[in-house]
């Protein structure tokens, strides 16, 4: 089996509002693709040359441009980026907020199978084309829309509010106040980390523990059960590009020091939130299929949690990040509070989580987030993360979920 190398990539500045700039998806794709290729040491001429021998393909991750920008057939849009993409195989992959992980998965598979030598993964979403309540309704399609979202204001905050309720129900020893304060700490940690990331959406924003604990005030209103605005990730415009390559390509070009995808996991849990919780009752983990996804990745890589130096996890809400700690093996199930309260996951802790700021701090253009996470792992394990570099990171793990932890993807990138 061929190994899958990562050559580089790029992320647009998540602070940008492309509607205000008067630019659309093509403009965003042009910037992200040009930057991603350049970071990987490639040019459009390289794409042309590789394509003459059918050695390159593109994988586009996007959740729901049909709604946000009235556009489908997204795989074909790379031909609008540059004529070098004429004739290059390309298609769009969709798995809600895990869309670009599905694209990475497909790209990695094609490289492992030696079908192609170079794969360009482009994840993107433009979300500021509509107001927040319309956008929230669109995102409801990541759940079972008719049964869980239709006609409900802000369906996803409510579903992840329910996840918080379920956490407290499952672990009766967990004090409610302690739990809510830990969720506030998670929020603050992500905001604080984002301050070091020059591409993070919230890098100028203010958040502190007091504010994150002031749920239900005018500036931190409740949006989903017990969860408030400070517990939510952001509405973001953005794209992330990841360039993957075969061992043959890396050897041809004499590239050294490039990390490899060492393992992955991909599991799909019951779609409906209630079924998911019912099915998981017997398990010590709140999200057993998320746990299984991590176990699969560890098994495939031959690594354990001890080997992982840095994590990027799916904090679409603080309650989902909380549940991720035990799923990834950072704590025992039911003891996730230890990860927060001991400083384990702090930027300077033993197991830093979301040094980028995560979805809360860095931003969450849903179709781009998986690719953005892998790119951040790449920066960490190649020592190129700049101000948010975790010193000496060799292996990184990401967890990207779609819906209410329905689609689960884990990748391990390392040297």
């Amino acid at each position: 089996m061929n190994r899958v190398f990562m050559l580089g990539g790029a992320q647009t500045d998540f602070e940008r509002n492309w509607k205000k700039e008067g630019k659309g998806m093509v403009a965003m794709l042009k910037e992200a693709v040009a930057d991603g290729l350049s970071d990987a040491g490639l040019s459009f001429e390289d794409i042309r040359a590789l394509n003459r021998e059918n050695r390159v393909a593109c994988f586009v991750g996007n959740f729901i441009a049909e709604k946000y920008t009235e556009q489908g057939h997204l795989g074909a849009f790379l031909t609008e980026v540059d004529p070098a993409f004429y004739g290059v195989p390309s298609a769009r992959y969709e798995a809600a907020c895990a869309s670009s992980s599905a694209a990475i998965d497909a790209a990695a598979t094609k490289i492992r199978a030696a079908d192609y030598d170079l794969a360009l993964v482009v994840g993107w979403e433009l979300m500021k084309t509509v107001d927040s309540s319309v956008g929230a309704d669109y995102l409801g399609r990541a759940a079972y829309y008719r049964k869980e979202a239709q006609g409900i204001e802000m369906p996803f905050p409510k579903l992840f509010g329910k996840l918080a309720d379920e956490t407290l129900r499952k672990y009766p020893a967990l004090d409610e106040k302690r739990y809510m304060e830990d969720l506030a700490r998670i929020s603050c940690l992500n905001y604080a980390n984002a301050k070091r990331n020059p591409r993070a959406q919230t890098r100028k924003w203010f958040m502190n523990l007091d504010q994150a604990n002031s749920r239900g005030t005018a500036t931190n209103p409740l949006v989903g059960g017990r969860l408030a605005v400070s517990d939510c990730s952001q509405v973001t415009d953005g794209a992330a590009v990841v360039v993957l390559a075969s061992e043959r390509f890396v050897r041809e070009r004499n590239l050294s020091g490039k990390p490899v995808i060492r393992g992955y996991g991909h599991r799909v849990a019951p779609l409906l939130f209630e079924k998911k919780m019912d099915e998981g009752k017997a398990s010590p983990w709140l999200l057993p299929w998320t746990r299984q996804t991590a176990l699969d990745a560890y098994r495939r890589s031959g690594l354990t949690v001890e080997d992982i130096d840095v994590f990027e996890v799916h904090d679409c809400f603080t309650s989902s990040e909380y549940a991720a700690f035990s799923a990834l093996g950072l704590t025992e199930p039911g003891e996730e509070y230890r990860a927060v309260e001991s400083g384990l996951i702090d930027f300077n802790g033993k197991k830093p989580v979301n040094p980028s700021g995560g979805l809360i701090g860095c931003g969450h253009p849903v179709g781009a987030s998986g690719a953005r996470m892998l790119l951040d792992l790449y920066r960490q394990v190649t020592g190129t993360a700049g101000g948010y570099q975790v010193p000496g990171a060799r292996n990184g793990m990401m967890l990207n979920i779609g819906g209410t932890a329905t689609t689960n993807y884990v990748f391990i990138l390392g040297r």
Binding site: G22, K23, F206
Partner: protein
């Protein structure tokens, strides 16, 4: 890191004072004495301060106070920030009062946007002058993180370094050290551009004047808001104070461009300062049914009329390119078009690059400082990034020599352009198409 636990902000009912109190109370997590002339007005300002950083949690840090309590507040403070009216006499009086009771370890500063920091420092007792600084922030500071930090000949270097670290790391500011000079760096560069645009509007009054010039220098040229719209937003009174100061106290090649045109003085004399006074260069007309109409002052007729929806072929082409993300092509449309409008537009951008480099050399400590101040204080495409942007379409020094021969000589452009460092900013986000078909 400095341990700033208590701050007094003097002049908190003003826009800047309120916003700065919000920054100290939030990022700084300091107890802030919010001091104004009228205690009732200060109380009414508190919700505005909370809103400025979108955080109810800071309300408990904000303590209303009036001038009778100045000595008590200051004596308890680690940092005192004066944000009073831009009037030297007022600032001196406050400095003297603060200086009498300021604790020896405490730092003090003024938010003045252009008065002599040294002169204010001299109102302090000799042993406290070394800890007094110009700390100039931009409005609104929550969105514009620039902070121009100015010392004097009395400055204690160690204090300046630790204040700089505090402003940068705790208050999340982009700190640029500037010499004590008229209007410091950002406003000198920005208002050179804006006032020259105002003078140009006068010169081209037969073409439409104000809206004509704004249509040439709008968002597609690398800024969120056209320059004369910006002046209207800031207010012609503030605009005048800045350019007067620059005209009186600078001696560089651009000095004449700081003279306010007569029509603008006329607007000021009749109280038409801008948005805050219900009209100025522009006037928003509101109807009972909620409809709004933007009108503009027609210099030629002296009356307000509807803004003209100008269509200039070069600008239209640029906007179409920007919409598609074709930046180099957009800039080629600009540099290769010989219409009067394209030439005016390009000359403004080239002059902006040159004057920024010139001012950075004169009052800053690096060329990159000009980039920081214009990106973080004005949200304009910063000069070095603009240089890179235009370089995708043309040889910029050759262009300047060709289009602006007089300024090339006067500004010593050859030297200024001899060693241009790469910009730390991405020019692409600053150029907006101003149109979007979904």
């Amino acid at each position: 890191m400095l341990n700033i636990r208590t701050v007094t902000v003097i002049g908190v009912t003003g826009t800047m004072g309120a916003n700065i109190a919000g920054i100290f109370a939030s990022f700084g997590n300091a107890k802030v004495y919010c001091l104004g002339r009228d205690l009732e007005k200060v109380r009414k300002t508190i919700p505005r301060i909370v809103q400025s950083v979108r955080a109810d949690a800071i309300a408990k840090n904000l303590i209303p106070a009036d001038f009778s309590m100045l000595e008590t507040c200051v004596a308890e403070s680690d940092l005192v920030f004066e944000s009073a009216r831009e009037d030297m006499a007022v600032k001196k009086e406050i400095a003297a009062r603060v200086g009498r009771v300021l604790q020896p370890h405490a730092i003090s500063g003024t938010g003045s946007s252009g008065l002599s920091i040294t002169e204010i420092a001299e109102c302090y007792p000799a042993e406290k002058r070394g800890r007094f600084f110009g700390i100039h922030l931009f409005n609104p500071p929550y969105m514009l993180p620039l902070c121009e930090l100015t010392g004097t000949k009395y400055t204690e270097p160690g204090t300046k370094a630790s204040l700089k670290a505090y402003l940068r790391d705790k208050l999340i500011r982009v700190v640029v050290e500037v010499r004590d000079s008229p209007a410091f760096m950002a406003n000198r560069i920005g208002f050179q551009f804006i006032n020259e645009a105002l003078r140009c509007a006068d010169q081209y009054r037969d073409n439409g004047g104000i809206d004509y010039i704004d249509a040439l220098l709008g968002p597609f040229t690398g800024r969120a808001m056209a320059p004369l719209m910006t002046s209207d937003f800031v207010g012609l009174d503030i605009h005048l104070a800045i350019v007067d100061n620059l005209y009186e106290n600078t001696r560089d090649y651009a000095r004449e461009t700081f003279l306010l045109p007569g029509f603008a003085q006329g607007l000021i004399d009749t109280g038409r300062l801008g948005r805050k006074s219900g009209g100025g260069l522009y006037q928003q007309v509101k109807y009972e049914n909620g409809f709004r109409r933007l009108t503009v002052y027609d210099i030629k007729s002296g009356l307000y009329r509807d803004v003209i929806p100008y269509v200039f072929p070069f600008a239209d082409k640029m906007k179409r390119c920007l919409q598609e993300g074709d930046y180099a092509e957009a800039f080629r449309h600009l540099v290769n078009n010989s219409s009067q409008e394209a030439e005016i537009c390009l000359s403004f951008l080239l002059k902006y690059i040159l004057y920024s480099l010139y001012v950075a050399r004169e009052v800053g400590d690096s060329t990159g400082a000009a980039d920081d101040v214009m990106a973080m204080g004005f949200n304009w495409c910063p000069p070095l990034a603009l240089y890179e942007a235009l370089s995708t379409a043309a040889d910029v020094p050759a262009l300047i020599r060709d289009r602006l021969p007089e300024i090339w000589e006067a500004s010593d452009a050859a030297a200024l352009l001899s060693d241009i460092p790469p910009s730390q900013y991405d020019y692409r986000r600053y150029f907006k198409s101003g149109r979007l078909t979904k």
